[in-house]
Protein backbone atom coordinates (compact mmCIF):
# COMPACT_ATOMS: atom_id res chain seq x y z
CA UNK A 1 0.00 0.00 0.00
CA UNK A 2 2.78 2.31 1.05
CA UNK A 3 4.70 1.44 -2.07
CA UNK A 4 1.72 2.17 -4.28
CA UNK A 5 1.26 5.49 -2.60
CA UNK A 6 4.93 6.28 -3.12
CA UNK A 7 4.78 5.35 -6.77
CA UNK A 8 1.65 7.42 -7.21
CA UNK A 9 3.21 10.56 -5.74
CA UNK A 10 6.36 10.06 -7.82
CA UNK A 11 4.34 9.72 -10.99
CA UNK A 12 2.13 12.64 -10.13
CA UNK A 13 5.02 14.95 -9.36
CA UNK A 14 7.06 13.94 -12.38
CA UNK A 15 3.99 14.43 -14.54
CA UNK A 16 3.57 17.91 -13.17
CA UNK A 17 7.25 18.60 -13.84
CA UNK A 18 6.91 17.30 -17.38
CA UNK A 19 3.87 19.44 -17.88
CA UNK A 20 5.71 22.52 -16.66
CA UNK A 21 8.72 21.76 -18.83
CA UNK A 22 6.49 21.33 -21.88
CA UNK A 23 4.74 24.62 -21.24
CA UNK A 24 8.02 26.41 -20.71
CA UNK A 25 9.43 24.88 -23.86
CA UNK A 26 6.44 25.94 -25.88
CA UNK A 27 6.46 29.45 -24.47
CA UNK A 28 10.13 29.97 -25.12
CA UNK A 29 10.29 28.23 -28.47
CA UNK A 30 7.15 29.82 -29.81
CA UNK A 31 8.72 32.52 -32.01
CA UNK A 32 11.19 30.10 -33.56
CA UNK A 33 8.50 27.57 -34.32
CA UNK A 34 6.20 30.14 -35.76
CA UNK A 35 8.59 31.62 -38.32
CA UNK A 36 8.30 28.99 -41.03
CA UNK A 37 7.37 31.35 -43.83
CA UNK A 38 8.84 30.85 -47.26
CA UNK A 39 10.32 33.50 -49.52
CA UNK A 40 7.04 34.71 -50.94
CA UNK A 41 5.35 34.89 -47.59
CA UNK A 42 8.30 36.86 -46.30
CA UNK A 43 8.10 39.19 -49.28
CA UNK A 44 4.43 39.70 -48.64
CA UNK A 45 5.11 40.48 -45.02
CA UNK A 46 7.86 42.88 -46.03
CA UNK A 47 5.50 44.56 -48.46
CA UNK A 48 2.92 44.98 -45.74
CA UNK A 49 5.48 46.45 -43.41
CA UNK A 50 6.69 48.81 -46.10
CA UNK A 51 3.16 49.94 -46.80
CA UNK A 52 2.71 50.60 -43.15
CA UNK A 53 5.98 52.49 -43.09
CA UNK A 54 5.08 54.67 -46.02
CA UNK A 55 1.68 55.31 -44.51
CA UNK A 56 3.28 56.36 -41.28
CA UNK A 57 5.79 58.54 -43.08
CA UNK A 58 3.12 60.30 -45.06
CA UNK A 59 1.12 60.79 -41.90
CA UNK A 60 4.14 62.26 -40.19
CA UNK A 61 4.77 64.50 -43.16
CA UNK A 62 1.22 65.82 -43.29
CA UNK A 63 1.24 66.46 -39.58
CA UNK A 64 4.53 68.28 -39.84
CA UNK A 65 3.16 70.36 -42.68
CA UNK A 66 0.17 71.23 -40.60
CA UNK A 67 2.41 72.20 -37.76
CA UNK A 68 4.48 74.39 -40.03
CA UNK A 69 1.38 75.96 -41.48
CA UNK A 70 0.07 76.70 -38.03
CA UNK A 71 3.38 78.20 -36.97
CA UNK A 72 3.66 80.39 -40.03
CA UNK A 73 0.03 81.38 -39.71
CA UNK A 74 0.65 82.44 -36.16
CA UNK A 75 3.66 84.43 -37.23
CA UNK A 76 2.29 85.99 -40.35
CA UNK A 77 -1.40 86.33 -39.81
CA UNK A 78 -1.33 90.05 -39.09
CA UNK A 79 1.43 90.74 -41.56
CA UNK A 80 -0.32 88.73 -44.25
CA UNK A 81 -3.60 90.50 -43.64
CA UNK A 82 -1.87 93.88 -43.95
CA UNK A 83 -0.09 92.77 -47.10
CA UNK A 84 -3.34 91.59 -48.61
CA UNK A 85 -4.96 94.90 -47.78
CA UNK A 86 -2.09 96.83 -49.28
CA UNK A 87 -2.26 94.78 -52.44
CA UNK A 88 -5.98 95.30 -52.66
CA UNK A 89 -5.62 99.03 -52.16
CA UNK A 90 -2.83 99.28 -54.70
CA UNK A 91 -4.99 97.43 -57.15
CA UNK A 92 -7.85 99.83 -56.53
CA UNK A 93 -5.66 102.91 -56.68
CA UNK A 94 -4.11 101.84 -59.97
CA UNK A 95 -0.61 101.10 -58.75
CA UNK A 96 -0.51 97.66 -60.31
CA UNK A 97 -0.14 96.65 -63.92
CA UNK A 98 -3.29 95.11 -65.35
CA UNK A 99 -3.78 92.50 -68.02
CA UNK A 100 -7.46 92.74 -68.86
CA UNK A 101 -9.75 92.62 -71.88
CA UNK A 102 -10.28 95.94 -73.58
CA UNK A 103 -9.75 98.09 -76.65
CA UNK A 104 -6.95 100.35 -77.87
CA UNK A 105 -7.64 103.75 -79.33
CA UNK A 106 -5.11 105.50 -81.47
CA UNK A 107 -5.00 109.25 -81.91
CA UNK A 108 -3.01 110.35 -84.95
CA UNK A 109 -2.87 113.45 -87.14
CA UNK A 110 -4.68 113.37 -90.46
CA UNK A 111 -1.73 114.16 -92.67
CA UNK A 112 -3.52 113.61 -95.97
CA UNK A 113 -6.24 116.12 -95.08
CA UNK A 114 -3.94 118.96 -94.14
CA UNK A 115 -4.46 122.02 -96.27
CA UNK A 116 -1.68 124.37 -97.09
CA UNK A 117 -1.52 127.18 -94.61
CA UNK A 118 -3.48 125.38 -91.94
CA UNK A 119 -1.71 124.65 -88.71
CA UNK A 120 -0.77 121.06 -88.08
CA UNK A 121 -2.01 119.94 -84.75
CA UNK A 122 0.81 118.45 -82.81
CA UNK A 123 -1.05 117.55 -79.71
CA UNK A 124 -4.41 116.71 -78.32
CA UNK A 125 -6.03 119.51 -76.41
CA UNK A 126 -6.77 118.72 -72.76
CA UNK A 127 -10.46 119.47 -73.25
CA UNK A 128 -10.74 116.92 -76.01
CA UNK A 129 -8.88 114.33 -74.01
CA UNK A 130 -10.99 114.95 -70.91
CA UNK A 131 -14.11 114.64 -72.99
CA UNK A 132 -12.88 111.35 -74.42
CA UNK A 133 -12.01 110.01 -71.01
CA UNK A 134 -15.36 111.02 -69.58
CA UNK A 135 -17.05 109.31 -72.43
CA UNK A 136 -14.99 106.17 -71.89
CA UNK A 137 -15.81 106.21 -68.21
CA UNK A 138 -19.45 106.52 -69.10
CA UNK A 139 -19.11 103.34 -71.15
CA UNK A 140 -17.88 101.28 -68.18
CA UNK A 141 -14.17 101.64 -68.77
CA UNK A 142 -12.34 100.55 -65.64
CA UNK A 143 -8.66 101.09 -66.35
CA UNK A 144 -7.38 103.70 -68.77
CA UNK A 145 -3.92 104.73 -69.80
CA UNK A 146 -2.99 107.53 -72.19
CA UNK A 147 0.41 107.32 -73.84
CA UNK A 148 1.61 104.93 -71.17
CA UNK A 149 0.29 107.11 -68.35
CA UNK A 150 -2.23 105.47 -66.10
CA UNK A 151 -5.29 107.55 -65.41
CA UNK A 152 -6.24 107.38 -61.74
CA UNK A 153 -8.71 109.29 -59.59
CA UNK A 154 -6.35 112.17 -58.94
CA UNK A 155 -4.96 112.46 -62.45
CA UNK A 156 -4.96 115.99 -63.83
CA UNK A 157 -5.00 116.77 -67.54
CA UNK A 158 -4.15 120.37 -68.21
CA UNK A 159 -2.43 122.77 -70.55
CA UNK A 160 0.92 124.08 -69.41
CA UNK A 161 2.64 126.48 -71.83
CA UNK A 162 0.67 125.11 -74.76
CA UNK A 163 1.56 121.57 -73.90
CA UNK A 164 -0.98 119.05 -72.83
CA UNK A 165 0.23 117.30 -69.72
CA UNK A 166 -1.09 114.34 -67.87
CA UNK A 167 0.27 114.42 -64.30
CA UNK A 168 3.35 116.22 -65.53
CA UNK A 169 3.91 113.91 -68.50
CA UNK A 170 3.81 115.88 -71.73
CA UNK A 171 1.88 114.49 -74.68
CA UNK A 172 4.14 115.97 -77.29
CA UNK A 173 4.33 113.59 -80.16
CA UNK A 174 1.49 112.05 -82.05
CA UNK A 175 0.28 109.40 -82.49
CA UNK A 176 -0.65 108.41 -78.98
CA UNK A 177 -2.33 105.33 -77.73
CA UNK A 178 -5.21 105.20 -75.31
CA UNK A 179 -5.65 101.82 -73.73
CA UNK A 180 -8.95 101.03 -72.13
CA UNK A 181 -9.46 98.01 -69.90
CA UNK A 182 -12.77 96.59 -68.78
CA UNK A 183 -13.91 93.70 -66.63
CA UNK A 184 -14.74 91.18 -69.34
CA UNK A 185 -14.71 90.73 -73.09
CA UNK A 186 -18.46 91.29 -73.43
CA UNK A 187 -18.12 94.73 -71.89
CA UNK A 188 -15.17 95.40 -74.20
CA UNK A 189 -17.36 94.56 -77.15
CA UNK A 190 -20.04 96.90 -75.90
CA UNK A 191 -17.52 99.64 -75.29
CA UNK A 192 -16.10 99.24 -78.79
CA UNK A 193 -19.53 99.57 -80.38
CA UNK A 194 -20.49 102.58 -78.29
CA UNK A 195 -17.29 104.46 -79.10
CA UNK A 196 -17.77 103.71 -82.75
CA UNK A 197 -21.25 105.14 -82.55
CA UNK A 198 -20.28 108.13 -80.45
CA UNK A 199 -19.35 111.60 -81.63
CA UNK A 200 -15.80 111.28 -80.36
CA UNK A 201 -14.40 110.51 -83.79
CA UNK A 202 -15.96 113.58 -85.29
CA UNK A 203 -14.84 115.73 -82.41
CA UNK A 204 -11.30 114.60 -82.98
CA UNK A 205 -11.68 115.19 -86.69
CA UNK A 206 -12.54 118.84 -86.17
CA UNK A 207 -9.14 119.21 -84.58
CA UNK A 208 -7.46 117.46 -87.50
CA UNK A 209 -6.97 114.25 -85.53
CA UNK A 210 -7.97 110.76 -86.40
CA UNK A 211 -9.30 108.44 -83.72
CA UNK A 212 -8.98 104.79 -84.67
CA UNK A 213 -10.44 102.08 -82.53
CA UNK A 214 -8.97 98.60 -82.52
CA UNK A 215 -11.06 95.47 -82.26
CA UNK A 216 -11.77 94.28 -78.72
CA UNK A 217 -8.70 92.49 -77.43
CA UNK A 218 -8.91 89.86 -74.69
CA UNK A 219 -5.57 90.96 -73.27
CA UNK A 220 -4.66 94.61 -73.01
CA UNK A 221 -1.82 95.62 -70.74
CA UNK A 222 -2.57 98.74 -68.74
CA UNK A 223 0.59 100.04 -67.09
CA UNK A 224 0.75 100.94 -63.43
CA UNK A 225 0.69 104.48 -62.16
CA UNK A 226 4.36 105.19 -61.56
CA UNK A 227 4.33 108.50 -59.67
CA UNK A 228 3.84 108.62 -55.92
CA UNK A 229 0.31 109.45 -54.93
CA UNK A 230 0.32 112.53 -52.74
CA UNK A 231 -2.53 112.90 -50.37
CA UNK A 232 -2.39 116.38 -48.99
CA UNK A 233 -5.84 117.13 -47.73
CA UNK A 234 -6.88 113.71 -46.55
CA UNK A 235 -6.76 112.76 -42.92
CA UNK A 236 -7.51 109.44 -41.31
CA UNK A 237 -10.84 109.30 -39.55
CA UNK A 238 -10.84 108.75 -35.81
CA UNK A 239 -13.14 106.11 -34.47
CA UNK A 240 -15.35 108.51 -32.52
CA UNK A 241 -15.76 110.86 -35.44
CA UNK A 242 -18.28 110.10 -38.06
CA UNK A 243 -20.00 106.82 -38.56
CA UNK A 244 -17.82 103.79 -38.15
CA UNK A 245 -20.45 101.40 -39.34
Amino acid sequence: MDKHKKNFSFIAISTVIGFMIAIQFQSIKEPVERDTRDLWQLREALLQEKELQSELISEIRSIEEKLLAYESKQKQSKEQALRDTIEELEFEAGLTEMLVPGVTLKISPILEEIQIGASVSKAVSPELLKRLLNELNMYDAKYISVDGQRIINTTVIRDINNETKIDGHALSSLPIEVKVGVDNIATAEKLYNRIKASKATEEFFTENLKLTISEPNPEVTIPAYDNPIRIRYLESLKADEGGNT
Binding site: S9, I11, V16, I17, I21, A22, I23, F25, Q26, S27
Partner: protein, 120 residues
Protein backbone atom coordinates in the same frame (compact mmCIF):
# COMPACT_ATOMS: atom_id res chain seq x y z
CA UNK B 1 12.72 3.20 -10.74
CA UNK B 2 11.42 4.02 -14.19
CA UNK B 3 8.27 5.57 -12.89
CA UNK B 4 9.49 9.20 -12.78
CA UNK B 5 10.70 8.99 -16.36
CA UNK B 6 7.37 7.57 -17.49
CA UNK B 7 5.59 10.34 -15.60
CA UNK B 8 7.90 12.92 -17.14
CA UNK B 9 7.17 11.69 -20.66
CA UNK B 10 3.45 11.59 -19.95
CA UNK B 11 3.59 15.14 -18.58
CA UNK B 12 5.53 16.45 -21.56
CA UNK B 13 3.09 14.86 -23.96
CA UNK B 14 0.18 16.28 -22.03
CA UNK B 15 1.77 19.72 -22.02
CA UNK B 16 2.49 19.65 -25.75
CA UNK B 17 -0.99 18.42 -26.55
CA UNK B 18 -2.82 21.02 -24.48
CA UNK B 19 -0.90 23.77 -26.29
CA UNK B 20 -0.84 26.09 -23.28
CA UNK B 21 1.40 29.14 -23.49
CA UNK B 22 2.36 31.54 -20.75
CA UNK B 23 3.30 35.16 -21.24
CA UNK B 24 6.95 36.02 -21.73
CA UNK B 25 7.28 37.89 -18.43
CA UNK B 26 6.22 34.81 -16.43
CA UNK B 27 8.61 32.35 -18.07
CA UNK B 28 11.22 33.18 -15.42
CA UNK B 29 8.89 32.00 -12.69
CA UNK B 30 8.05 28.83 -14.51
CA UNK B 31 11.67 27.97 -15.21
CA UNK B 32 12.58 28.38 -11.57
CA UNK B 33 9.53 26.34 -10.56
CA UNK B 34 10.69 23.59 -12.93
CA UNK B 35 14.12 23.70 -11.35
CA UNK B 36 12.67 23.47 -7.84
CA UNK B 37 10.43 20.59 -8.86
CA UNK B 38 13.34 18.73 -10.43
CA UNK B 39 15.36 19.26 -7.26
CA UNK B 40 12.53 17.82 -5.20
CA UNK B 41 12.15 14.88 -7.56
CA UNK B 42 15.82 13.98 -7.41
CA UNK B 43 15.81 14.52 -3.67
CA UNK B 44 12.91 12.10 -3.45
CA UNK B 45 14.68 9.50 -5.59
CA UNK B 46 17.84 9.79 -3.45
CA UNK B 47 15.79 9.46 -0.25
CA UNK B 48 14.07 6.43 -1.69
CA UNK B 49 17.40 4.82 -2.54
CA UNK B 50 18.77 5.63 0.91
CA UNK B 51 15.58 4.25 2.47
CA UNK B 52 14.82 7.46 4.30
CA UNK B 53 11.91 8.39 2.07
CA UNK B 54 9.03 10.23 3.70
CA UNK B 55 5.87 10.85 1.74
CA UNK B 56 4.97 14.02 3.62
CA UNK B 57 8.43 15.52 3.26
CA UNK B 58 8.44 14.74 -0.45
CA UNK B 59 5.04 16.19 -1.33
CA UNK B 60 5.29 19.20 0.98
CA UNK B 61 8.86 19.84 -0.24
CA UNK B 62 7.66 19.82 -3.82
CA UNK B 63 5.05 22.50 -3.30
CA UNK B 64 6.99 24.49 -0.74
CA UNK B 65 10.11 24.67 -2.92
CA UNK B 66 8.12 25.76 -5.93
CA UNK B 67 6.29 28.47 -3.99
CA UNK B 68 9.51 29.65 -2.33
CA UNK B 69 11.39 29.83 -5.62
CA UNK B 70 8.57 31.66 -7.36
CA UNK B 71 8.16 34.15 -4.53
CA UNK B 72 11.91 34.72 -4.43
CA UNK B 73 11.87 35.50 -8.15
CA UNK B 74 8.86 37.76 -7.62
CA UNK B 75 10.62 39.61 -4.80
CA UNK B 76 13.69 39.93 -6.96
CA UNK B 77 11.73 41.50 -9.77
CA UNK B 78 10.18 44.02 -7.41
CA UNK B 79 13.41 44.84 -5.62
CA UNK B 80 15.34 45.19 -8.84
CA UNK B 81 17.78 42.43 -7.80
CA UNK B 82 17.98 39.19 -9.71
CA UNK B 83 17.08 37.13 -6.66
CA UNK B 84 15.93 34.20 -8.75
CA UNK B 85 19.63 33.56 -9.40
CA UNK B 86 19.96 32.66 -5.74
CA UNK B 87 17.24 30.04 -6.17
CA UNK B 88 18.83 28.83 -9.40
CA UNK B 89 22.19 28.51 -7.67
CA UNK B 90 20.82 26.75 -4.58
CA UNK B 91 18.66 24.33 -6.55
CA UNK B 92 21.35 23.73 -9.12
CA UNK B 93 23.95 22.84 -6.52
CA UNK B 94 21.52 20.56 -4.70
CA UNK B 95 20.48 18.99 -7.97
CA UNK B 96 24.07 18.08 -8.78
CA UNK B 97 24.69 16.79 -5.26
CA UNK B 98 21.56 14.65 -5.33
CA UNK B 99 22.39 13.25 -8.75
CA UNK B 100 25.93 12.49 -7.59
CA UNK B 101 24.61 10.66 -4.53
CA UNK B 102 22.14 8.71 -6.69
CA UNK B 103 24.91 7.75 -9.05
CA UNK B 104 27.13 6.50 -6.24
CA UNK B 105 24.34 4.52 -4.66
CA UNK B 106 23.49 2.95 -8.00
CA UNK B 107 27.16 2.21 -8.63
CA UNK B 108 27.62 0.51 -5.24
CA UNK B 109 24.41 -1.44 -5.78
CA UNK B 110 25.59 -2.52 -9.20
CA UNK B 111 29.05 -3.54 -7.94
CA UNK B 112 27.60 -5.45 -4.96
CA UNK B 113 25.22 -7.24 -7.29
CA UNK B 114 28.13 -8.18 -9.51
CA UNK B 115 30.15 -9.44 -6.56
CA UNK B 116 27.18 -11.51 -5.41
CA UNK B 117 26.86 -13.00 -8.87
CA UNK B 118 30.57 -13.83 -8.94
CA UNK B 119 30.39 -15.47 -5.49
CA UNK B 120 27.44 -17.56 -6.54
Amino acid sequence: MWLPILGLIAGILLGLLTDIRIPEEYSNYLSIAVLAALDTLFGGIRAHLQNIYDEKVFVSGFFFNIILAASLAFLGVHLGVDLYLAAVFAFGVRLFQNIAVIRRILLTKWSTNKEKLEKN
